[in-house]
Amino acid sequence: MVKLTFVQPDGASRTVDAEPGVTVMEAAKLNDIPGIEAECGGACACATCHVYVDPEWVDKTGKPEAIEEDMLDFAFDVRKESRLSCQIKVTPDLDGLTVRVPAKQF
């Protein structure tokens, strides 16, 4: 199991266990993390699973691919650490990953 921490805009945080192979979005949904809507179910087609990856983890999670960048155009308040959480696969490397949930998904 890999530990993932989700930080809410008000600072509240929760750490959950995720099975390697699922996506960060799926881990959030399985654990009822508020603020991750994922309307399209992980198809990189809705941009409502937007998160900010903790700057210390940006190297490990990697950069978004072109289709994810295109989809990020539909998210709000996009920053350098912005990712769509359905496009980040949980691997043992990501044990301890912290992501922040934006104030609004639109």
Binding site: E39, D73, F76, D77, F106
Partner: protein
């Protein structure tokens, strides 16, 4: 809307059945209704058929359509259109059904946002996740500016003449309106979060040429705040990619952030709902109002799965009951398309 008013309006289209929504399930409803001699008119707020399949994932493969091991959202739409062609359904695109009421004659009276009126014997709601509506940027107080200074579509280009216009986005809508409105506007700024555009390459080139000529200014950044009073915008604050804040004097904004699905008018038609979904029975897929059916993603019943496959099943059963309302005098005989010469005639099989 009272019945006498509705009837007084000339030019109301009369039809057996109105299908609200041209997603995969609405399209297949045309087929099943057609087999039982029910003529249909299909309305969708989008400008083309296919619903979620065409709008959200046209290029992505679907793997759970029986007998089609893999088919993309667009292919599925195209194949459905081919399959329903023999029934000659009428299509209305770019209009949203806003009103639905039963008139005193027992038929249903519908009205679209464009004022079109339709009278039908049965109504099939195949509205999916709801009508596609433009995403509203979550900027504080934006509602007050909507319709006055913030517009999600261009209805009349003239409305932008002589204005300081800001267009936000990086796709075709943002680029097309930049090119079209630049000659009319007093000033035109295009803002996008990154210096890469998803739109058609030649539009991007034309936009860059206008920027080089000084006719359009390009800002790489995002709007963070709106300034103005009583719906009249005076300026926006933008955060540029380097983190700096900039104030831009503008009095009209066109934000293009794609579409999202909202239940919309369906909620106001007096039907029994369950958490934003229309309750139906599982024999006829009829709502709490006789003669109004709900099929596909918009309906709910115990065990409901939002699958295209399930929607296809629902419309077949729905059509049996619809036949009773539309052709009460006729007895419906169960038939197979493989062996029934009358069904084959309807399908144009030679």
């Amino acid at each position: 809307m009272a019945l006498d008013e509705a009837v007084a309006v000339t030019g109301a289209t009369e039809i057996d059945a109105v299908v609200i929504g041209a997603g995969p399930v609405g399209l297949f409803a045309v087929f099943e209704l057609g087999l039982v001699d029910i003529k249909t008119l299909v309305i969708d707020i989008l400008d083309r058929p296919g619903g979620q399949c065409a709008e959200l994932y046209p290029e992505k493969p679907i793997y759970d359509i029986p007998a089609l091991p893999t088919v993309t959202g667009q292919e599925l739409t195209d194949r459905l259109l081919e399959q329903i062609k023999p029934f000659g359904a009428q299509f209305v695109f770019g209009e949203r059904v806003d009103e639905l009421q039963r008139g005193e004659d027992g038929r249903f009276h519908l009205k679209t946002d464009a004022g079109r009126e339709i009278v039908a014997k049965v109504v099939v709601i195949a509205a999916g996740g709801g009508s596609f509506t433009p995403k509203r940027p979550p900027l504080e107080g934006i509602e007050a500016y909507e319709g006055k200074s913030v517009h999600y579509a261009v209805r009349r280009m003239e409305d932008f003449r002589g204005k300081d216009v800001l267009i936000v986005g990086g796709g075709d809508s943002a680029l097309d309106w930049t090119l079209n409105l630049a000659p009319l506007a007093k000033s035109l700024t295009l803002m996008h979060r990154r210096d890469e555009f998803r739109g058609a390459p030649h539009s991007v080139e034309q936009m860059r040429a206008l920027v080089a000529e000084g006719k359009v200014s390009l800002v790489i950044g995002q709007v963070t705040k709106l300034h103005g009073e009583t719906g009249n915008l005076e300026a926006v604050t933008a955060k540029t990619s380097d983190g700096a804040e900039q104030r831009l004097a503008v009095n009209a904004i066109l934000p293009f952030f794609g579409l999202t699905m909202k239940l919309g008018p369906v909620a106001h038609w007096g039907l029994n709902l369950n958490e934003n979904l229309v309750l139906v029975d599982t024999e006829k897929f009829e709502t709490s109002e006789k003669g109004i059916f709900a099929v596909g993603d918009i309906n709910w019943y115990p065990g409901k799965l939002k699958l295209i496959l399930s929607g296809f099943h629902e419309v077949a059963l729905m059509a049996q009951q619809a036949h009773k309302y539309v052709h009460p005098e006729k007895k419906l005989m169960f038939q197979y398309t493989t062996s029934s010469s009358s069904l084959q005639k309807k399908l144009g099989v030679k």
